[in-house]
Symmetry: C2
C-alpha cells in the first residue's frame, strides 16, 4: 500500500575533496558528509538539505541533487570558497591521512532551518560541531527520529557539548575508532554499553568493509559489508550508510527494531555502491533496480536456511 | 531422526604454548592446531586425532580429549620434547609476534594413519607441511570431504607442493592475510577467485573477529564473528573454527551449500568460546547447552525478518 513517505532533513557539510588515490589524483571532487547522506537518502525518500557552499560551488551540483528529490533551498551560498579537504589513501585503501583541511565558508556555518523544514520526521545530523547539532534540534519540531554522527575532533575537543547531543539523539551512528575513543575502551561491545548509558537507546558502530553493528533494546544486530572486487574510493561510505538508513526509515515511516534491522541492509548496500566509484560518482549512477539487485545478493549472502538443526 | 554420525580425522600439531598476554604470561598452555580442531569437532561428532607429542606431554591432556570422544590412538609419543610456541600479543590482542618456535619432536613428524582410521568420511588437514598433507591423503580411502588449512611459511616456501594440495582438497580454509599472500592480490573477492581457480571448489576466508566468508558454487556467504565483551586469547580460534565446521558436517553427513552455511555458524560460535579463555580452557568447558544458547543469540543477530520490503 502506497503511503506518504516521511521526509529526511540532512544537516552537514558540502565540500570539494582532493583525493590522492593509488589509482591517481582527483581534484575538485564533489564531497561532504551531507552530500553523501543526501544522495543516499534520496534513493528512498524525499530529502531536505541544510548546509553552506562558497561562490565556487557549481550550480550544476545542486541541480543534480534537486533532480534526485533533494530540496536544496536550505543550502546557503556565501561569498568565499567552499570547504575543501585533501587526503591521501594507502595503497590498500585501508587507511588515509588528511593532507589539508580548508574550512573556508564552513568555518562560520550556523545552520538555519527554513520554516518549511521544521516539521521533518527524520533528522540526520552530520558530524558538525555538537553545539551546532544542538542548535538544529532547537529549531525543529519533535522529529520521530534524530540520528547523529560525530568525529574524533569533537570527541576530544567538545566532550560537554557532545554529552548533551548524546542525551538528545535517538540513534547515534559512529565508526569503531570513534566508539573506542568516546567510551575509552577498546572492546566494541563494552564501548557500546558505555555510550548507550550516556543517552542514545540505539547505537550503530560502523566498521568499514567489515560491516556495522546495531545495539538496541532488542539486542545486537549485524550487517556485513558487501564484498566487492573493485573498491576505488571509501570516501563518504559512512555518510552514505547513515543517509541510506535515514532514507529507508523515512520511507517506511516506522522506527522499530525490525525496520532498523532491514534499514541496515539498505544502508550497507548503498555504501557498497559509494566505494565503487571516485567520489559519489557510482552512487549517483545507481538506480533502483541496481539497489534491488544488490539487496537480493546481500540477503543470499546471509541466508543460512532459517534454522540451525542440531544432530544428537 | 538419529543416524550414525560420520567421523572426523584431524591431522596436525599438538603443542605447548607460552603466551605473553596483556593480562599476564601463561606458560605450558595446551596448544596446537590439531588440539583446538579436535576439541571443537568433538562437540559435534566422533574425532580421530593423528599427531605427535614428546615425553613431557601429560597423559592427562590426552585423557581429557578421550573423555570428549576423541580417539587418541593416532597420537604418537616420541622421546624428546613436545612442539613449543612462544608468542606475545599486542595490548588490543589484534596482533601477535612469535618469540620462539621449538619444533622438537614435531620436526620429524610423518603422519601415519592407523588402518582403523583410513575410512574417515571427513578429513581435516591442519597447517603442516603440504607434502605431509599429501601423504595423509595417500593413506586414506576416498573421504566425502577433505578440508585443509595452510600458513604463510608454506605459501612462500613450498608453492609447488601447496599447489598439489589445492588440487586435491574440497574445502580450503585460510585467513585473509594468507589468502592475499597465496593469490598475490589484496582484494579478498579477487583473491578468492584466484585460489578457487587453482583447485578447491569451496574456499573459506577467516577474518578473525570480523567473521568468515565462504565462496562456493552457490555464491558468497558470510558469518559474523560473535561480538564479545571479554576476549582473553585469540590463539587457536581459527583452528577451532575449522574443527567446528568439520564436526558439524560430519554430524549431518551431507556436504551441501546449505549444510556448509549452517556449519559456519557452529564454527563461529565455537570460535567465540575459544577466545574467551586462555588456551582451550573455555572451549573445553563449553557444554552443548552453551553452544545452543550462543547459536540462538547468533541467529537473532542476523535475523532481519526474512524480507526486505521496498516502499515505492
Amino acid at each position: 500500500m502506497a503511503h506518504q513517505k516521511d521526509t529526511v532533513l540532512v544537516v552537514g557539510s558540502l565540500a570539494f575533496d582532493d583525493l590522492e588515490m593509488p589509482t591517481g589524483t582527483f581534484n575538485d571532487v564533489l564531497g561532504g558528509a551531507a552530500t553523501y547522506s543526501s544522495i543516499a537518502a534520496s534513493m528512498l525518500a524525499p530529502v531536505r538539505l541544510v548546509g553552506v557552499v562558497g561562490a565556487d560551488f557549481p550550480e550544476a551540483h545542486l541541480r543534480s541533487l534537486r533532480q534526485r528529490g533533494v530540496d536544496t533551498a536550505g543550502v546557503e551560498r556565501q561569498a568565499g570558497q567552499t570547504f575543501r579537504w585533501r587526503g591521501r589513501y594507502s595503497a590498500d585503501l585501508a587507511s588515509r591521512e588528511t593532507l589539508d583541511t580548508k574550512l573556508n565558508v564552513f568555518a562560520d556555518f550556523r545552520p538555519k532551518i527554513p520554516t518549511a523544514y521544521r516539521q521533518s520526521p527524520v533528522v540526520l545530523l552530520g558530524n558538525i560541531h555538537p553545539k551546532l547539532q544542538l542548535e538544529v534540534l532547537h529549531q525543529v519540531d519533535k522529529p520521530k527520529l534524530v540520528i547523529a554522527d560525530t568525529m574524533n575532533f569533537w570527541i576530544s575537543g567538545e566532550p560537554a557539548a557532545l554529552d548533551e547531543v548524546l542525551r538528545k539523539v535517538d540513534l547515534f551512528v559512529i565508526n569503531d575508532e570513534e566508539a573506542r575513543q568516546l567510551a575509552g575502551t577498546h572492546n566494541i561491545v563494552r564501548a557500546a554499553r558505555v555510550i548507550r548509558a550516556r543517552g542514545p537507546a540505539r547505537l550503530i558502530i560502523k566498521r568499514g568493509e567489515h560491516g556495522a553493528l546495531l545495539f538496541d533494546e532488542q539486542g545486537t544486530f549485524f550487517v556485513p559489508g558487501y564484498p566487492l572486487e573493485e573498491v576505488l574510493d571509501p570516501t563518504g561510505a559512512g555518510d552514505t550508510f547513515a543517509g541510506g538508513l535515514a532514507g529507508y526509515l523515512a520511507s517506511v515511516g516506522e522506527i522499530t527494531p525490525a525496520t532498523l534491522r532491514k534499514g541496515m541492509f539498505f544502508a550497507s548496500a548503498l555504501a557498497s555502491f559509494c566505494v565503487e566509484g571516485i567520489g559519489p560518482k557510482r552512487l549517483l549512477a545507481a538506480e533502483k533496480h541496481d539497489l534491488i539487485g544488490r539487496l537480493d545478493e546481500f540477503t543470499r549472502m546471509v541466508d543460512y536456511g532459517g534454522t540451525l538443526g542440531f544432530e544428537d
